[in-house]
Amino acid sequence: MAKQQLNRREFFSFLTVGWVAFTAATAGLLSLAFRFSYPNVNFEPEMEFLAGGPSEFEAGVDERYKNGFGVWMVKQDGKLFALSNICTHLGCIPSWMPAEKKFKCPCHGSGYYMSGINFEGPAPRPLERYKVSLTPEGKIRVDKTKVYRYEKGEWNNPNSFISV
Protein backbone atom coordinates (compact mmCIF):
# COMPACT_ATOMS: atom_id res chain seq x y z
CA MET A 1 0.00 0.00 0.00
CA ALA A 2 1.31 3.39 -0.92
CA LYS A 3 2.24 5.57 1.99
CA GLN A 4 -0.19 8.47 2.20
CA GLN A 5 1.51 11.74 2.88
CA LEU A 6 0.21 15.29 3.18
CA ASN A 7 2.20 18.00 1.57
CA ARG A 8 2.64 21.28 3.35
CA ARG A 9 -0.23 23.02 1.50
CA GLU A 10 -2.72 20.23 2.22
CA PHE A 11 -1.65 20.11 5.87
CA PHE A 12 -2.36 23.80 6.33
CA SER A 13 -5.73 23.62 4.61
CA PHE A 14 -6.74 20.77 6.92
CA LEU A 15 -5.47 22.81 9.85
CA THR A 16 -7.51 25.84 8.74
CA VAL A 17 -10.69 23.80 8.29
CA GLY A 18 -10.12 22.22 11.67
CA TRP A 19 -9.67 25.50 13.49
CA VAL A 20 -12.61 27.16 11.76
CA ALA A 21 -14.82 24.21 12.69
CA PHE A 22 -13.57 24.28 16.28
CA THR A 23 -14.14 28.03 16.60
CA ALA A 24 -17.62 27.74 15.10
CA ALA A 25 -18.53 24.88 17.45
CA THR A 26 -17.28 26.84 20.47
CA ALA A 27 -19.14 29.98 19.45
CA GLY A 28 -22.26 27.91 18.81
CA LEU A 29 -22.07 26.30 22.24
CA LEU A 30 -21.55 29.65 23.94
CA SER A 31 -24.54 31.17 22.17
CA LEU A 32 -26.62 28.16 23.17
CA ALA A 33 -25.50 28.67 26.78
CA PHE A 34 -26.51 32.32 26.50
CA ARG A 35 -29.96 31.52 25.15
CA PHE A 36 -30.32 28.75 27.73
CA SER A 37 -30.18 31.35 30.51
CA TYR A 38 -33.42 32.98 29.30
CA PRO A 39 -36.39 30.70 30.11
CA ASN A 40 -39.39 30.86 27.76
CA VAL A 41 -41.90 30.80 30.59
CA ASN A 42 -41.73 32.34 34.01
CA PHE A 43 -44.27 32.19 36.77
CA GLU A 44 -44.51 35.83 37.69
CA PRO A 45 -47.82 37.73 37.91
CA GLU A 46 -49.41 38.84 34.64
CA MET A 47 -48.48 42.29 33.41
CA GLU A 48 -52.17 42.91 32.62
CA PHE A 49 -55.02 42.30 35.04
CA LEU A 50 -58.64 43.25 35.66
CA ALA A 51 -59.44 45.35 38.71
CA GLY A 52 -63.05 45.90 39.81
CA GLY A 53 -65.33 48.59 38.45
CA PRO A 54 -64.59 52.25 39.24
CA SER A 55 -67.52 52.37 41.68
CA GLU A 56 -65.85 49.76 43.90
CA PHE A 57 -63.13 52.19 44.93
CA GLU A 58 -63.48 54.77 47.66
CA ALA A 59 -61.49 57.97 47.70
CA GLY A 60 -57.92 57.33 48.78
CA VAL A 61 -55.49 54.44 48.40
CA ASP A 62 -56.70 50.88 47.76
CA GLU A 63 -54.17 48.14 48.54
CA ARG A 64 -56.11 45.15 47.13
CA TYR A 65 -53.80 44.71 44.15
CA LYS A 66 -50.54 45.56 45.92
CA ASN A 67 -49.37 42.07 46.91
CA GLY A 68 -50.53 40.26 43.79
CA PHE A 69 -49.69 42.78 41.10
CA GLY A 70 -47.62 45.54 42.70
CA VAL A 71 -50.20 48.27 42.09
CA TRP A 72 -52.03 50.77 44.28
CA MET A 73 -55.41 51.92 42.94
CA VAL A 74 -55.74 55.56 43.98
CA LYS A 75 -58.86 57.70 43.71
CA GLN A 76 -58.08 61.38 44.08
CA ASP A 77 -59.56 64.62 42.74
CA GLY A 78 -61.99 62.91 40.35
CA LYS A 79 -59.29 60.63 38.89
CA LEU A 80 -58.72 56.92 39.42
CA PHE A 81 -55.22 55.76 38.55
CA ALA A 82 -52.94 52.73 39.00
CA LEU A 83 -49.77 53.66 40.86
CA SER A 84 -46.63 51.51 40.68
CA ASN A 85 -45.38 50.34 44.07
CA ILE A 86 -41.71 50.33 43.03
CA CYS A 87 -39.66 53.08 44.67
CA THR A 88 -37.93 55.23 42.05
CA HIS A 89 -34.79 55.41 44.19
CA LEU A 90 -33.47 51.83 44.15
CA GLY A 91 -36.51 49.63 43.58
CA CYS A 92 -37.76 48.65 47.06
CA ILE A 93 -41.48 48.63 47.89
CA PRO A 94 -42.80 51.58 49.93
CA SER A 95 -45.63 51.18 52.45
CA TRP A 96 -48.84 53.23 52.52
CA MET A 97 -49.08 55.07 55.85
CA PRO A 98 -52.78 55.92 56.27
CA ALA A 99 -52.27 58.18 59.29
CA GLU A 100 -49.64 60.33 57.61
CA LYS A 101 -51.25 60.04 54.15
CA LYS A 102 -47.98 59.18 52.45
CA PHE A 103 -46.03 56.30 50.91
CA LYS A 104 -42.85 55.61 52.84
CA CYS A 105 -40.04 53.40 51.60
CA PRO A 106 -38.40 51.27 54.34
CA CYS A 107 -35.05 50.95 52.55
CA HIS A 108 -33.81 54.53 52.45
CA GLY A 109 -36.75 56.65 53.61
CA SER A 110 -38.15 58.09 50.40
CA GLY A 111 -41.62 59.59 50.89
CA TYR A 112 -44.37 60.16 48.31
CA TYR A 113 -47.73 61.94 48.49
CA MET A 114 -50.89 60.01 47.68
CA SER A 115 -50.55 61.26 44.09
CA GLY A 116 -47.19 59.50 43.83
CA ILE A 117 -45.12 62.69 43.80
CA ASN A 118 -41.97 62.46 45.91
CA PHE A 119 -41.39 64.99 48.67
CA GLU A 120 -38.73 63.55 51.00
CA GLY A 121 -35.77 61.19 51.00
CA PRO A 122 -33.49 60.22 48.11
CA ALA A 123 -36.17 59.39 45.49
CA PRO A 124 -35.26 61.28 42.32
CA ARG A 125 -38.72 61.32 40.72
CA PRO A 126 -42.38 60.44 41.38
CA LEU A 127 -43.77 56.90 41.32
CA GLU A 128 -44.87 55.72 37.88
CA ARG A 129 -48.50 55.25 36.85
CA TYR A 130 -49.74 52.43 34.62
CA LYS A 131 -52.15 52.42 31.72
CA VAL A 132 -55.77 51.98 32.77
CA SER A 133 -58.84 51.47 30.57
CA LEU A 134 -62.44 50.35 30.95
CA THR A 135 -63.59 47.03 29.49
CA PRO A 136 -67.05 46.80 27.87
CA GLU A 137 -68.22 45.11 31.10
CA GLY A 138 -67.21 48.19 33.07
CA LYS A 139 -64.14 46.66 34.72
CA ILE A 140 -60.80 48.43 34.93
CA ARG A 141 -58.00 46.88 32.88
CA VAL A 142 -54.53 47.73 34.24
CA ASP A 143 -51.69 47.35 31.74
CA LYS A 144 -48.29 47.46 33.45
CA THR A 145 -46.35 47.30 30.19
CA LYS A 146 -47.18 50.95 29.53
CA VAL A 147 -45.96 53.47 32.12
CA TYR A 148 -46.67 57.18 32.46
CA ARG A 149 -44.13 59.45 34.14
CA TYR A 150 -44.98 62.72 35.84
CA GLU A 151 -41.64 64.33 34.99
CA LYS A 152 -42.32 63.77 31.29
CA GLY A 153 -45.74 65.40 31.60
CA GLU A 154 -47.43 62.09 30.84
CA TRP A 155 -49.92 62.12 33.71
CA ASN A 156 -52.22 64.28 31.58
CA ASN A 157 -52.45 61.45 29.06
CA PRO A 158 -56.07 60.21 29.08
CA ASN A 159 -54.84 56.57 29.19
CA SER A 160 -53.15 57.17 32.53
CA PHE A 161 -56.35 57.67 34.53
CA ILE A 162 -60.10 57.09 34.56
CA SER A 163 -62.37 60.05 35.29
CA VAL A 164 -64.81 59.26 38.07
Binding site: Y38, N42, L90, G91, C92, C107
Partner: protein, 260 residues
Protein backbone atom coordinates in the same frame (compact mmCIF):
# COMPACT_ATOMS: atom_id res chain seq x y z
CA UNK B 1 15.93 0.38 65.67
CA UNK B 2 16.92 4.03 65.67
CA UNK B 3 14.52 6.71 64.41
CA UNK B 4 16.89 7.42 61.55
CA UNK B 5 17.03 3.77 60.65
CA UNK B 6 13.22 3.59 60.63
CA UNK B 7 12.98 6.71 58.47
CA UNK B 8 15.46 5.21 56.00
CA UNK B 9 13.44 1.99 55.93
CA UNK B 10 10.21 3.87 55.21
CA UNK B 11 11.90 5.89 52.47
CA UNK B 12 13.05 2.65 50.94
CA UNK B 13 9.56 1.15 50.56
CA UNK B 14 7.94 0.99 47.15
CA UNK B 15 4.91 2.96 48.42
CA UNK B 16 7.07 5.89 49.56
CA UNK B 17 9.21 5.88 46.43
CA UNK B 18 6.17 5.75 44.18
CA UNK B 19 4.80 8.94 45.84
CA UNK B 20 8.04 10.89 46.31
CA UNK B 21 10.39 10.53 43.36
CA UNK B 22 13.22 12.48 45.00
CA UNK B 23 15.59 11.68 47.87
CA UNK B 24 15.39 13.26 51.32
CA UNK B 25 15.41 17.09 51.20
CA UNK B 26 18.83 17.44 52.78
CA UNK B 27 20.52 19.17 49.85
CA UNK B 28 19.59 21.99 47.49
CA UNK B 29 18.85 19.72 44.57
CA UNK B 30 16.38 17.58 46.48
CA UNK B 31 14.73 20.57 48.15
CA UNK B 32 14.09 22.02 44.69
CA UNK B 33 12.76 18.64 43.58
CA UNK B 34 10.28 18.62 46.50
CA UNK B 35 8.65 21.77 45.09
CA UNK B 36 9.01 20.99 41.39
CA UNK B 37 7.74 17.42 41.79
CA UNK B 38 4.50 18.33 43.57
CA UNK B 39 1.50 19.51 41.57
CA UNK B 40 0.36 21.88 44.34
CA UNK B 41 3.76 23.21 45.41
CA UNK B 42 5.05 23.69 41.89
CA UNK B 43 2.79 26.73 41.49
CA UNK B 44 5.02 28.29 44.12
CA UNK B 45 8.59 29.51 43.49
CA UNK B 46 11.33 27.02 44.42
CA UNK B 47 13.31 29.72 46.15
CA UNK B 48 12.11 32.88 47.86
CA UNK B 49 13.86 36.14 48.44
CA UNK B 50 14.38 36.79 52.13
CA UNK B 51 12.07 39.82 51.90
CA UNK B 52 9.36 37.61 50.44
CA UNK B 53 8.78 35.94 53.79
CA UNK B 54 9.08 39.11 55.88
CA UNK B 55 5.68 39.95 57.33
CA UNK B 56 6.53 43.64 57.43
CA UNK B 57 6.84 43.63 53.63
CA UNK B 58 4.10 41.27 52.44
CA UNK B 59 1.70 41.31 55.45
CA UNK B 60 1.02 37.74 54.24
CA UNK B 61 -2.28 39.13 52.97
CA UNK B 62 -2.32 37.07 49.76
CA UNK B 63 -1.56 33.90 51.73
CA UNK B 64 -4.22 34.74 54.31
CA UNK B 65 -6.75 35.35 51.55
CA UNK B 66 -6.01 31.93 50.09
CA UNK B 67 -6.23 30.31 53.53
CA UNK B 68 -9.62 31.94 54.15
CA UNK B 69 -10.78 30.88 50.69
CA UNK B 70 -9.97 27.26 51.59
CA UNK B 71 -11.75 27.61 54.95
CA UNK B 72 -14.80 29.06 53.16
CA UNK B 73 -14.77 26.21 50.66
CA UNK B 74 -14.77 23.59 53.43
CA UNK B 75 -17.45 25.28 55.57
CA UNK B 76 -19.47 26.09 52.45
CA UNK B 77 -19.53 22.47 51.30
CA UNK B 78 -20.63 21.44 54.82
CA UNK B 79 -23.44 24.02 54.79
CA UNK B 80 -24.67 22.63 51.47
CA UNK B 81 -25.59 19.39 53.26
CA UNK B 82 -28.34 21.25 55.14
CA UNK B 83 -29.38 24.15 52.92
CA UNK B 84 -32.05 23.89 50.20
CA UNK B 85 -32.29 26.85 47.81
CA UNK B 86 -36.06 27.12 47.51
CA UNK B 87 -38.44 29.79 48.76
CA UNK B 88 -40.15 27.21 50.95
CA UNK B 89 -37.07 25.90 52.75
CA UNK B 90 -34.19 28.38 52.44
CA UNK B 91 -34.93 30.62 55.43
CA UNK B 92 -35.97 27.73 57.69
CA UNK B 93 -32.82 25.80 56.79
CA UNK B 94 -30.73 28.80 57.86
CA UNK B 95 -32.58 28.85 61.20
CA UNK B 96 -32.14 25.07 61.46
CA UNK B 97 -28.40 25.45 61.00
CA UNK B 98 -28.40 27.44 64.22
CA UNK B 99 -31.06 25.56 66.18
CA UNK B 100 -30.99 21.92 65.10
CA UNK B 101 -27.52 21.20 63.83
CA UNK B 102 -24.54 20.49 66.08
CA UNK B 103 -21.77 23.02 65.50
CA UNK B 104 -24.18 25.33 63.71
CA UNK B 105 -21.39 27.83 64.25
CA UNK B 106 -20.23 26.53 60.84
CA UNK B 107 -22.47 29.14 59.24
CA UNK B 108 -20.99 31.90 61.39
CA UNK B 109 -17.47 30.79 60.41
CA UNK B 110 -18.55 30.96 56.76
CA UNK B 111 -20.12 34.39 57.21
CA UNK B 112 -17.30 35.97 59.22
CA UNK B 113 -14.75 34.31 56.99
CA UNK B 114 -16.44 35.92 54.00
CA UNK B 115 -16.16 39.34 55.62
CA UNK B 116 -12.52 38.65 56.51
CA UNK B 117 -11.69 37.56 52.96
CA UNK B 118 -13.01 40.81 51.50
CA UNK B 119 -10.84 42.73 53.97
CA UNK B 120 -7.69 40.69 53.32
CA UNK B 121 -8.17 40.96 49.54
CA UNK B 122 -8.31 44.75 49.81
CA UNK B 123 -5.28 44.87 52.13
CA UNK B 124 -3.37 42.56 49.78
CA UNK B 125 -4.18 44.85 46.89
CA UNK B 126 -3.19 47.89 48.97
CA UNK B 127 0.16 46.28 49.81
CA UNK B 128 0.80 45.33 46.18
CA UNK B 129 -0.04 48.86 45.10
CA UNK B 130 2.05 50.62 47.77
CA UNK B 131 5.10 48.44 47.09
CA UNK B 132 4.76 49.05 43.34
CA UNK B 133 4.48 45.31 42.74
CA UNK B 134 2.00 45.85 39.91
CA UNK B 135 4.74 47.25 37.67
CA UNK B 136 6.31 45.29 34.80
CA UNK B 137 6.92 42.39 34.61
CA UNK B 138 3.98 41.81 37.01
CA UNK B 139 1.30 43.89 35.24
CA UNK B 140 -0.54 40.83 33.87
CA UNK B 141 -0.81 39.35 37.36
CA UNK B 142 -2.23 42.64 38.61
CA UNK B 143 -4.96 42.24 36.00
CA UNK B 144 -5.66 38.69 37.16
CA UNK B 145 -5.81 40.06 40.71
CA UNK B 146 -8.34 42.69 39.75
CA UNK B 147 -10.58 40.00 38.25
CA UNK B 148 -10.18 37.96 41.44
CA UNK B 149 -11.19 41.03 43.46
CA UNK B 150 -14.36 41.43 41.39
CA UNK B 151 -15.14 37.71 41.73
CA UNK B 152 -14.61 37.92 45.51
CA UNK B 153 -17.19 40.69 45.68
CA UNK B 154 -19.56 38.73 43.40
CA UNK B 155 -19.22 35.76 45.77
CA UNK B 156 -20.18 38.08 48.64
CA UNK B 157 -23.09 39.47 46.62
CA UNK B 158 -24.50 36.11 45.55
CA UNK B 159 -24.05 34.65 49.05
CA UNK B 160 -25.96 37.59 50.51
CA UNK B 161 -29.24 36.40 48.97
CA UNK B 162 -29.11 32.85 50.29
CA UNK B 163 -30.44 33.45 53.87
CA UNK B 164 -33.64 34.58 52.06
CA UNK B 165 -34.69 37.10 54.72
CA UNK B 166 -35.97 40.63 54.14
CA UNK B 167 -32.47 42.11 54.31
CA UNK B 168 -31.24 39.62 51.69
CA UNK B 169 -34.13 40.10 49.27
CA UNK B 170 -34.10 43.89 49.34
CA UNK B 171 -30.32 44.17 49.29
CA UNK B 172 -30.24 42.01 46.16
CA UNK B 173 -33.18 43.95 44.69
CA UNK B 174 -31.24 47.18 45.13
CA UNK B 175 -27.95 45.64 44.00
CA UNK B 176 -29.32 43.90 40.92
CA UNK B 177 -31.08 47.10 39.85
CA UNK B 178 -27.62 48.35 38.96
CA UNK B 179 -27.65 45.82 36.12
CA UNK B 180 -30.66 47.73 34.78
CA UNK B 181 -28.33 50.63 33.96
CA UNK B 182 -25.90 48.57 31.85
CA UNK B 183 -25.28 50.42 28.56
CA UNK B 184 -27.35 48.87 25.73
CA UNK B 185 -27.90 45.58 27.61
CA UNK B 186 -29.98 46.91 30.52
CA UNK B 187 -33.47 48.28 29.93
CA UNK B 188 -32.81 51.46 31.93
CA UNK B 189 -29.30 52.04 30.67
CA UNK B 190 -27.92 54.47 28.08
CA UNK B 191 -28.49 53.25 24.55
CA UNK B 192 -31.41 50.97 25.46
CA UNK B 193 -33.88 53.58 24.18
CA UNK B 194 -32.11 53.61 20.81
CA UNK B 195 -32.96 49.93 20.31
CA UNK B 196 -36.64 50.65 19.85
CA UNK B 197 -38.44 50.28 16.56
CA UNK B 198 -41.79 52.07 16.72
CA UNK B 199 -43.70 50.47 19.58
CA UNK B 200 -41.42 47.42 19.61
CA UNK B 201 -38.98 47.65 22.53
CA UNK B 202 -35.94 45.45 21.93
CA UNK B 203 -34.32 45.81 25.36
CA UNK B 204 -37.00 45.43 28.02
CA UNK B 205 -37.23 44.08 31.55
CA UNK B 206 -38.10 40.71 29.99
CA UNK B 207 -34.86 40.20 28.09
CA UNK B 208 -32.08 42.39 29.46
CA UNK B 209 -29.02 41.43 31.55
CA UNK B 210 -30.91 41.90 34.80
CA UNK B 211 -33.47 39.33 33.66
CA UNK B 212 -30.61 36.98 32.85
CA UNK B 213 -29.13 37.44 36.32
CA UNK B 214 -32.42 37.01 38.20
CA UNK B 215 -34.24 34.68 35.78
CA UNK B 216 -37.17 37.05 36.26
CA UNK B 217 -38.25 40.66 36.52
CA UNK B 218 -37.75 40.74 40.28
CA UNK B 219 -35.96 38.77 43.00
CA UNK B 220 -37.97 35.56 43.29
CA UNK B 221 -37.39 31.85 43.62
CA UNK B 222 -35.61 31.46 40.24
CA UNK B 223 -33.17 34.19 41.35
CA UNK B 224 -32.49 32.27 44.57
CA UNK B 225 -31.59 29.12 42.64
CA UNK B 226 -29.49 31.06 40.15
CA UNK B 227 -27.56 32.87 42.89
CA UNK B 228 -27.07 29.57 44.73
CA UNK B 229 -25.48 27.93 41.69
CA UNK B 230 -23.36 31.01 41.00
CA UNK B 231 -22.26 31.16 44.64
CA UNK B 232 -21.54 27.46 45.20
CA UNK B 233 -20.36 26.22 41.82
CA UNK B 234 -19.78 28.66 38.99
CA UNK B 235 -17.82 31.49 40.62
CA UNK B 236 -15.72 29.24 42.91
CA UNK B 237 -14.66 27.19 39.86
CA UNK B 238 -13.54 30.31 38.01
CA UNK B 239 -11.84 31.66 41.14
CA UNK B 240 -10.01 28.35 41.66
CA UNK B 241 -8.60 28.41 38.12
CA UNK B 242 -7.59 32.07 38.40
CA UNK B 243 -5.92 31.50 41.80
CA UNK B 244 -3.77 28.81 40.16
CA UNK B 245 -2.87 31.22 37.35
CA UNK B 246 -2.20 34.00 39.90
CA UNK B 247 0.23 31.91 41.99
CA UNK B 248 1.97 30.45 38.99
CA UNK B 249 2.50 33.91 37.52
CA UNK B 250 4.04 35.11 40.79
CA UNK B 251 6.69 32.44 40.21
CA UNK B 252 7.04 33.12 36.48
CA UNK B 253 7.28 36.89 36.94
CA UNK B 254 10.31 36.61 39.20
CA UNK B 255 8.82 35.73 42.57
CA UNK B 256 7.48 38.13 45.16
CA UNK B 257 8.78 41.61 44.48
CA UNK B 258 11.60 42.81 46.70
CA UNK B 259 12.13 46.18 48.39
CA UNK B 260 14.43 48.42 46.38
Amino acid sequence: MSAKGLADKVRDTQVWKSIFRHGPPNNSRNRAAVVAGNVFLHLHPIKLKKSGVQLGYTWCMGGLTFFIFLALTVTGVLLMFYYRPTAEYAFNDIIALREHVPLGIMREIHRWGAHAMVITVWLHMYRVFMTGSYKPPREFNWGVGVILLVLTMLLSFTGYLLPWDQLAIWAITVGSNMAKATPFAGHGGPGAALAQIGDFVMVSDKNDVRFQLLAGRFVGEPALLRFYILHCVFIPLVVGVLIAVHFWRVRKDGGISAPL
